[in-house]
Structures are given as C-alpha cells and as structure tokens.
C-alpha cells in the first residue's frame, strides 16, 4: 500500500470531476455504497452507531499491525455511499496517517455545500469517529509496548 491518504483523496476528486452533472455524481456515490462490503450483523450494535446523523450510521473498526480496518453501513443510500468514500480513503492506513490527514475531498466532489458543512447528515461525525478509532488504537498500542 504505497498510495497515501492524500493521493487517494486527489484520485477521488479527479474521478468525480469527470462526471458532468450532479445527478450522475450522486448515482456514482450510491453505486459505491452498493459495493460496500456487507456489514457484519454482529457489529450492528448501539455502541457502534454514529451519533449526530439524521440517518442511521454504523461504524466498526479493528486494528491490525498498526493499521485500521473499518466497516460501515447506513440505511440511507447516499450516506452509505459517503461511508464507502470515507473508507476507501482511510481504511487500511496507519494510525498516524489517519490521525494526521484531514478529510479535504468532500468539498471537491461537486456536491451541494450542505454535505460538507453538516452536523445533520453526520459526515463530520463519521469522520470524527474514524479518527477517534485510530487515536484509541494508537493509545492502546502504546500502552501495550510500555
């Protein structure tokens, strides 16, 4: 895995910029949501719900050798697509890379401004949760090596 988080964001933006209309950009997002791996039912728990979203969002993560692997789901197709974008960008990277790299790609996708600034749609809550997992795993790992 040589591609950085920043590389992946740039690639995503480039790809979306080739899609002309907003309808097709949403179609692409929704399509990506459909490709999201099935969310394991054993993780569909209250504690894995991301708070502050207007739709239901689940996010689970596991650490693996200094990296984080995420799975996610939502009952809304667009949000599911956004999750798949977020995970495509962040999943599988190192604790430090995830913690250090801000999510800049959302503004570049050519979607309504509200998707990026919203407390309501939960994208920011989701991104926060992604980072919190990395922070928590890093803290645990440091403790174990002490």
């Amino acid at each position: 895995m040589t591609e950085t988080i920043a590389d992946k964001q740039a690639a995503l933006i480039a790809r979306f910029n080739t899609i002309p209309g907003w309808e097709d950009r949403y179609r692409e997002i929704i399509r990506m949501g459909r490709d999201l791996p099935t969310f394991p039912e054993e993780h569909r728990l209250e504690k894995n719900k991301v708070k502050g979203c207007q739709s239901q969002v689940w996010l689970h993560a596991r650490p693996d050798d200094g990296r984080v692997h995420y799975v996610g789901d939502s009952d809304a197709a667009i949000v599911k697509g956004l999750i798949s974008l977020v995970l495509a960008v962040y999943s599988g990277h190192t604790f430090d890379a995830i913690i250090a790299t801000p999510a800049t790609f959302v503004d570049g996708l050519g979607l309504g401004q509200h998707l990026s600034q919203s407390r309501a749609n939960g994208l920011s809550a989701m991104l926060k949760q992604v980072k919190l997992y990395a922070l928590a795993f890093k803290a645990m790992a440091n403790k174990q090596t002490l």
């Binding site: 309808e23 949403y26 207007q54 979607l111």
Partner: protein, 407 residues
C-alpha cells in the same frame, strides 16, 4: 383557490423575491419555521435603529415608548387569540418554553404522586418531555390517548382515560406530522367535566386558521412567533385568568416582583409574574408586525388557501409510485408527511435540496408517533401563506427525478 393575491403576498417575502443571484427557493418547511415578510424585518430593525429602549424600567421617553409598544403587542396578541383579558397573555421564548412554564409552575404545584398527565399519541416532544420531567420529579405518570390509522384521536377512549387522577390534558391543536386538527373544544369539555385543566399546543395552528381560545375552552394555549411570520425568540402563553392568577412564579428576577427582601419577596400579578428579566423586546415588537400581517390577510382566507394547497398536493403526490402519506383526517391542515417505498427519507430530502426544494426529513420531534406509524422517519412538506401550486408541482417533479436517481 385563494381569496387573496398570492403574488402580492409573495412579493413581501425577501427570501422569495429578493435573493439576487440565488436559485429560486421552493420552501416547503413552514411547519418548522416560516419565512418573514419585509414589515416584520423592518419593524425589528427600525426599533433598534430609531426607537430602542428597554421596557418597564425607565422613566425616560425612549423606555416609556418602548413599553407602550411592547404592551400594545400584548393587546394585539389578546385580540389575535380572542382572549378575554390582556393579562392572560404572557410572552415566552416560544411554544417549548411556554409548555415548560406551565408544566413547572402549574404542574409542580398541582401534580402529586399518583396523578396523571394525559397527552396524545401525536404530540411533539415539547409536549411530552416537559411533562415527563415534571412527572418524574413529583411521582406522577403520563398516559396516552391513542390515534387511529387515519391519524385522528380515538375519542371513544377519552372518557375511560379521564380518571380522577388526570389533572392535566395536553394536546396539539394541529399535529406537526399528520396535519390532523384535533377536536379541542370537545376534548376540553370532557376534560373539564373530569376536573382536569387543558393545555393546547397551538404551534401549528396559530398562523394557519382562526383561533379563539374562548371557543376552544382551553385553559392554556401556546404558540411560537417564528412559525407565524414573526421573529425567532418569542412566543405566547395564553392562560385563563383564574388559572394564571393562582400559579406560583417559575423563574425569578427583575420586573416580576413587587418587593424583594432576603427574607421575603412578593410577586407581581400575571402576566408580569411570569416574565422575569429583560424580555425579547425587539422580537415582541416584530411579532406585533407579524400579527398585523396575518390579520391583514385574514386567517379564514389563509386557511382556505392552505386547504386548497393540501387537497391539490395530496392528489398530485399520489402520482408518485410507491408514495405513502401519513394522516388522512378530514379537514387536515397544510402538512403532508410521506415515505416512498424502498427509499430512505434522508436520500429523498438530500436530492430535493439539490434541486432547491426544502422539505423536512426525520422524526419531526415526534418519535412516539413515528413508532406508532411504524417508521423511523418521514419526508414532510408543509405550507405557509406564501406557498403555491407551483411549489407543489416542483416537489412532484423533484420526486420523479429523485426516483430516477435512487432506483
């Protein structure tokens, strides 16, 4: 369809006419909050710029004049609701605070352990949680009048539920999800016969139909300026004189006292007893302009206009495959909640927003009702004085486009 000139009405709303460069707004969330006419915006701004003064405290001219205008709006509000006396009108921050005032002042002094507060299955959280908090504090319980599948109260259950333990019946005048207009006068009559007082949550009715608190026969009626073409931050608690008079103060502070000592304090009569501290002065004055605006149109005309839109919208929405409306009570108001099979309300709302169409998506602060309806959330389109058939046409077209993207 309407007895007034809708284009002249719309021209008075800068959000609809005056946003240069902005896309035309299709605003279908008037049940959440209404747009403001120019007269209301100007009333508040001019007050700050030319006539600003605090109320009830200064002997100088500016303060006296502000007090006279502030109290003048109280009289306007009395007349708007046809209350008997101007002292029956208390200004609050809005509906929510008004209900909390009653729950805390009246509720805490009257409710005892084992007593009940009866609400309905269609209430907004404001008319549930405020009572829950007080009930919990005093050991009382909440009971619930059910609704049928058309979204109407099951009145046949009312007398059974109205046990002597019920001290308060709190119900919406109009449901913010179903649009149902409840038979408040009938409920009040029976509740009074059973010895309970009646609070009517008029958040959704006040700006959309004529309201006469004497005809409704309720003890309390509450509403929010921001849903009535007025400023945010202000609302009305109407309380029947005899009931208000007997209520202890809730919040303490300036202007609600007669004398203050560290040992003993005596309180003003209503409404001042319930208006502690500096009130939302400029907002009350703007609210006065909103009441004049609504009365200038005439609430019968307004109700007729919105009923026409509701009928039209109900018909047109049924053209959309898989669309299901919640609430089919006869005479329902301009609020239409719906889902479309296989599509998340969030997705529908987001894709309508991309088309410049503002609808509300979610539980509408009515989670118990959502549970009763068997959904987690719905899309909701709601109308105001400035809404048009063209708005509804845009919604229906927008929904067709949404379907094209989502399926």
């Amino acid at each position: 369809m309407s007895a007034f000139d809708i284009e002249r009405v719309r021209a008075q709303f800068p959000m609809l006419s005056g946003r240069e460069g902005a896309r035309k707004l299709v605003f279908l969330d008037s049940a959440a909050t209404s747009l403001k006419p120019r007269v209301v915006i100007d009333a508040e701004a001019d007050f700050y710029a030319r006539d600003y003064g605090t109320v009830r405290r200064g002997i100088y001219g500016l303060s006296q004049a502000a007090t006279a205008r502030y109290e003048g709006v109280r009289e306007k509000a009395r007349s708007f609701l046809n209350a008997r006396e101007v002292n029956e009108i208390v200004f609050t921050r809005g509906t929510t605070e008004a209900i909390n005032l009653v729950a805390n002042s009246f509720g805490r002094s009257v409710l005892k352990s084992g007593d009940e507060v009866l609400v309905t299955a269609m209430e907004h959280h404001a008319n549930i949680v405020s009572w829950q908090l007080v009930c919990k504090a005093v050991g009382a319980t909440l009971s619930v009048l059910p609704i049928d599948d058309s979204g109407q109260l099951v009145l046949a259950e009312l007398d059974r539920l109205l046990s002597p333990r019920v001290k308060v019946v709190a119900l919406a005048h109009m449901s913010n999800v179903l649009g149902t207009v409840n038979p408040v006068a009938e409920v009040a009559r029976r509740a009074h016969a059973a010895g309970a007082v009646v609070l009517v949550d008029g958040a959704q009715s006040a700006a959309h139909m004529p309201v006469d608190v004497q005809e409704l026969g309720c003890d309390f009626f509450v509403c929010s300026s921001h849903k009535m073409c007025g400023p945010s931050g202000v609302g009305i608690l109407y309380g029947r004189h005899e009931v208000l008079e007997a209520m202890p103060p809730w919040q303490g502070g300036g202007d609600m006292i007669v004398t203050v000592g560290f040992d003993e304090t005596t309180f003003e009569a209503p409404p001042y007893r319930f208006e502690a501290g500096t009130p939302p002065i400029a907002q009350v004055i703007g609210f006065g302009a909103a009441l004049d605006f609504l009365d200038g149109i005439g609430r019968e005309h307004l109700a007729a206009h919105e009923h026409g839109l509701t009928d039209y919208a109900t018909g047109r929405l049924h053209e959309v495959p898989g669309l299901r409306v919640f609430g089919s009570a006869p005479g329902k108001g301009g609020i239409i909640a719906f889902v479309i099979d296989g599509m998340a309300p969030y997705d529908i709302g987001t894709l309508l927003d991309e088309q410049g169409i503002a609808v509300r998506v979610g539980h509408h602060c009515a989670q118990p009702l959502m549970k009763r309806l068997g959904v987690a959330s719905t899309v909701r389109a709601s109308f105001g004085v400035y809404s048009t058939r063209a708005d509804i046409d845009a919604l229906v077209e927008g929904l067709h486009k949404v379907r094209g993207i989502l399926s």
